[in-house]
Structure formats: C-alpha cells, structure tokens
C-alpha cells in the first residue's frame, strides 16, 4: 500500500485495548472506546476509576513509552489510539494538539501569573497568524462574555468559576476538532455548574466533538448523547445516555436514586 493512503476510518477517535501504568500499577485496564465526528460522549466513573488517565493517554500527557521529564505524571500506556485513522501512539502532546485534539485538564492548570488574555493567547499558540488569533478570541468571548471585562486580570486573581471558563475558552482558542474536558464542574456551585453546562452544550452544537469526563454523572448524562461508565480502569457499561439514565445499576451507583 502506498504510504499516502491513510488507514480508512469510520470513527473519529478510537482507543483499542488501552492500559495505563504508573510504574507497574495499572490504572486503566484494557479499555476500548470510540467517538464519532460531532458526537458528545461522556465518561463517567468514581474518583480514581481511571478517567483522567484515559484522557491523558489520548492527549499525550501520558506517553506511549516511559515518560520523559517534562510531564509531572510519569505514566505510560499500552494499546493503540487512532485519531481520524492515524495512530497517535508516540506523538508528543504538542503534536497531538496540532492534530486538532485539545484537552482542558482537570484542575484547570491555568498559567496563574499570565493575564487572562495571555492565557487565551497561549491557547491560540497553534494558530497561524494574528488575524486567526483575533477571530478565535472573538468566538471564545461570544461563548464566555463574562471574560471580556477580565482580560487584563491575572488568572490567579479570578474566582473558581471564572477560572474554569478561562480554561475552556483557552481550549477553544485552538479551534479544536475534538475537545476533551476533564471534570469542568468540579468545585463549582450548582448555579455556576448549570451555566457552564449550557456553554458546553453550545460548544457541542457548534460542531465540536466533545468528550466530557465527569464524576457528576447526572450532568454528564444530561449533556452527552453516548456514555461510558468506567470502573477500576475498565468499561463496565456503555450506551446511549437516555438508556443509561434508566439503567437500574447506574441509578443506584451514580445517580443516588
């Protein structure tokens, strides 16, 4: 086969038999999942189930081989990850971002001493020129108009809710094809959580493929169309969110019904 022929693909993102290890301890065990273009998928599970590890394997924070020094998480993974038919294994996080996958990490990971505007500029690091950057900024501010007045503030001076908005807006600045959101609702009040949920819904409706990791199962199931329930690093259950919402096990374990 000539090298320019890409592996034909149906799924936008495919994880096949993923194992994530920290040292020798497996945090993700033989997990497979897939996401179609335009989908809104949620990954649910208790604290420590392996949700973040899975996202970090996709984005390259957890490397395919033993990690180098620049990542604080020193995990590595086995298995195969395909994005639009191309293997991501072995690519650096920066390369994976340039392919169109942007992760909004758990705990926001803003640049605390940079201004909000600078944080957003870093988000647009992969944009070719200033015009594109400006266009992304305008688009992001349409989704998060509250940030307009805060552009000059240092990120660490913002409230938790505003920081989460900056984190997602920063992710949008790259105009990603796929957005990975890791527990965006963590630590937010119910009102803010609702507000944020609406923004995420908008982003999905605009055409961005979204993978949302949530401990707050109700939120994930309300927003997404397809869900994976992860327990002890494995997919315990998957299906349409409408079905999962009515599943007795899900109700008992995750919805407190």
């Amino acid at each position: 086969m000539p090298t320019w022929v890409r592996r034909s693909y149906k799924r936008m993102l495919e994880l096949i038999n993923i194992w994530v290890y920290y040292d020798k301890i497996a945090a993700v065990r033989d997990l497979s999942l897939s996401v179609d273009k335009g989908d809104f998928v949620t990954i649910l599970g208790a604290n420590g189930a392996g949700k973040s590890s899975t996202l970090n394997a996709i984005s390259g924070i957890v490397k395919a081989k033993k990690g180098k020094r620049h990542s604080k998480t020193e995990g590595h993974f086995k298995g195969e990850i395909y994005f639009k038919g191309e293997k991501l294994n072995g690519l650096t996080a920066a390369k994976i971002a340039s392919r169109g996958i942007i992760q909004v990490p758990e705990g926001r990971k803003l640049f605390p001493l940079l201004t909000v505007r600078e944080n957003l500029q870093v988000g647009a690091y992969l944009q070719k020129d200033k015009i594109q950057m400006q266009r992304s900024l305008e688009k992001a501010l349409v989704v998060f108009p509250d940030l307009k007045d805060r552009l000059r503030a240092k990120a660490r001076e913002l409230s938790g809710g505003q920081q989460q908005m900056v984190a997602i807006a920063r992710g949008l600045m790259a105009q990603p094809e796929m957005l990975l959101l890791d527990e965006p609702s963590l630590g937010l009040s119910p009102v803010l959580r609702q507000h944020l949920a609406e923004r995420i819904k908008e982003i999905s409706q605009e055409g961005t493929t979204v993978v949302l990791v949530e401990q707050n199962a109700r939120l994930g199931l309300m927003l997404a169309s397809y869900g994976y329930v992860v327990e002890n690093g494995k997919v315990a259950l998957e299906g349409k969110t409408s079905d999962l919402l009515n599943n007795e096990d899900v109700k008992r374990a995750y919805l407190g019904v």
């Binding site: 984005s59 390259g60 924070i61 990690g67 180098k68 020094r69 620049h70 990542s71 604080k72 998480t73 020193e74 650096t92 996080a93 920066a94 390369k95 971002a97 340039s98 942007i102 992760q103 990490p105 990971k109 803003l110 640049f111 605390p112 001493l113 940079l114 600078e118 500029q121 870093v122 988000g123 690091y125 992969l126 920063r170 600045m173 790259a174």
Partner: protein, 288 residues
C-alpha cells in the same frame, strides 16, 4: 562612605551577576535544573570574544554576538546530549544533573587550559580612554559594560513579554503540561532556553573581558556570586535575579573596600541575614 570609584566598580560587578543570574533563573524555570558549569560558559564566552577581537579583528559588538551564539550553541549541545539524558524523572535526576554539570566545570577548565593556555590574557586596548567628570573619571570600558548590559536586559525583557516565543517560555515555566496541551513543544523550548542562558553567560564574560583578565579559571567567582544573587532574589524569580545581582555587586565591592580579608565571609553573613528575614528571598513566592 566609600569613594565613587568603589560604587562604580560595584555597578560593574552588578552587571555581571545580574546577567549571569538571569540566565541561570531562566534555565531553572523551564528545565528545573541548576547548571553548575554556568560560570564556565562565562569563561568560554570571554575567550571566544578575545579571539574574535584580537585574532580576527572583528568589531566589539559583533564579537559579542558571535560569542553569545557560539557558546549558546554549545549550551544547546550540552542540554541535548548530557543534561537531557541524565535528568531522569525521579528524585535522582536532579542529583545526576548536579554531578554531570560539576564534571563539566573541570572538563571546560581543562579543555580551555589545553587550547588557550593558562596564562592571563588581557583586552585592555579594546576601548582605551576615560571620561572625565570633574571630581572623578570613568573608563570607557566600564561605561560600555553598563550600556551593553542594559541593551541585553532590555532585549530579554522585550523577548519575554512581547514575542510569541517569550509567551511560550513564560507559560511553560508556570504549567509545562498545560503548555504542551496547547501545542508548545516544551522539549524544544528547553533547548532554546538553555541556549539563551548560556549565551547570556558568554556575553557577560565578553563584556567583562576588557575590564578584567581572561584565563581558564575566571568562571568560579561570578558563578558563586550569581548563585547568591539568586538566593537573595528568590529562586525562580527573574526580577529577583536582577535585584539580587544588583545588591550583590554593590555589597561585594563596598565590603571589599572596608575589609581586605574575609570580605566574602561578611558577604555570606549578610546574605544569611537577608534570608533569616525573608526565607523565600526578596521576590520568591512564599511556600503555601
């Protein structure tokens, strides 16, 4: 009150320590390491500058750039082929880097002795003359030291605060993972930053070359002083490196004027007093 000349000498020393310390902190903020051979890059820079000026007859400012580029390039090689390899992601990594860069001190001093010889060299003829200001006079060389240091520091300020690569450096220093998630290649940035740090040391060595003598062992003192400057300023703070460098240059010069012996001891005591009052350094973030 010491005479004006002592303060001027203090300012000259400040310029060296500031530039050196700035480079060390920049490297530390991205690579998380202290390069113990930083002073030897200063020394190598002085030699490159010396030969560019004397043997090749290249003008003063161009020689300064050549020295920065060549020695900066050497720094990149050291990062790529030595530091990156020994800096494994565990507690031992930092120790290996320390051992490796201390070994480099002896390697560079030995290599310089072999290649350039151990006898002192001087560049006093580069910028002869003095500026007479009535009650005192300043040599043009010393004025050049201050001007070139200012130019370098202003350039660094502009690069860090008003360019895309500068933004990437600041972002990667604060949250390397988040930076890489947005497309910043932190490994490549590390090489660049190591290059800049070593180039700054080399340019400091070059700027000082006409004022002092040059030999393979001139790197030690500026290195120790810049390290103290960093400790005073607060490890990790670029502003701290500049202010720490300024304080230390004047302190060193003034203390040495009053005491011919043990002046370094007094210096260390003063540094310890500063740290007792402000353990995190003047500009360091206090630990949470």
């Amino acid at each position: 009150m010491p005479p004006v000349g002592i303060w001027i000498d203090g300012l000259i020393q400040s310029c060296t320590y500031m530039t050196m310390a700035f480079g060390m902190v920049l490297v530390f903020s991205i690579l998380g390491i202290l390069n113990w051979a930083h002073g030897q890059f200063y020394m190598l820079g002085a030699f490159v500058f010396y030969y560019a000026v004397t043997a090749a007859g290249i003008p003063f400012p161009v020689s300064l750039l050549i020295s920065g580029v060549l020695v900066g390039g050497l720094g990149i090689l050291v990062e790529k082929f030595i530091i990156e390899r020994v800096n494994i992601p565990s507690a031992q990594g930092a120790l290996y880097v320390t051992v490796a860069t201390i070994a480099l001190i002896f390697f560079f001093e030995g290599a310089a002795s072999m290649i350039f010889g151990m006898q002192d060299k001087g560049l006093a003829m580069v910028l002869p003359g003095v500026l007479d200001l009535g009650s005192f006079s300043v040599s043009y060389q010393k004025i050049a030291v201050v001007i070139f240091t200012l130019v370098i520091m202003i350039t660094m300020y502009i690069v860090l605060n008003h360019t895309k690569v500068g933004l990437a450096i600041r972002a990667a220093a604060q949250e390397p993972d988040a930076a890489s998630l947005h497309g910043i290649n932190v490994e490549r940035l590390s090489l660049l930053v190591m290059g800049i740090g070593c180039a700054l040391a080399a340019m400091a060595g070059s700027i000082m070359a006409p004022v002092f003598i040059i030999n393979p062992f001139i790197g030690g003192i500026p290195m120790i002083m810049s390290l103290l400057a960093i400790v005073i300023g607060g490890l990790g703070s670029l502003t701290g490196a500049i202010v720490g460098g300024l304080i230390l240059g004047f302190l060193n010069s003034v203390v040495a004027y009053h005491l011919s012996y043990f002046s370094e001891v007094v210096l260390f005591v003063l540094v310890i007093i500063i740290l007792l009052v402000r353990p995190q350094g003047l500009f360091g973030a206090s630990r949470k």
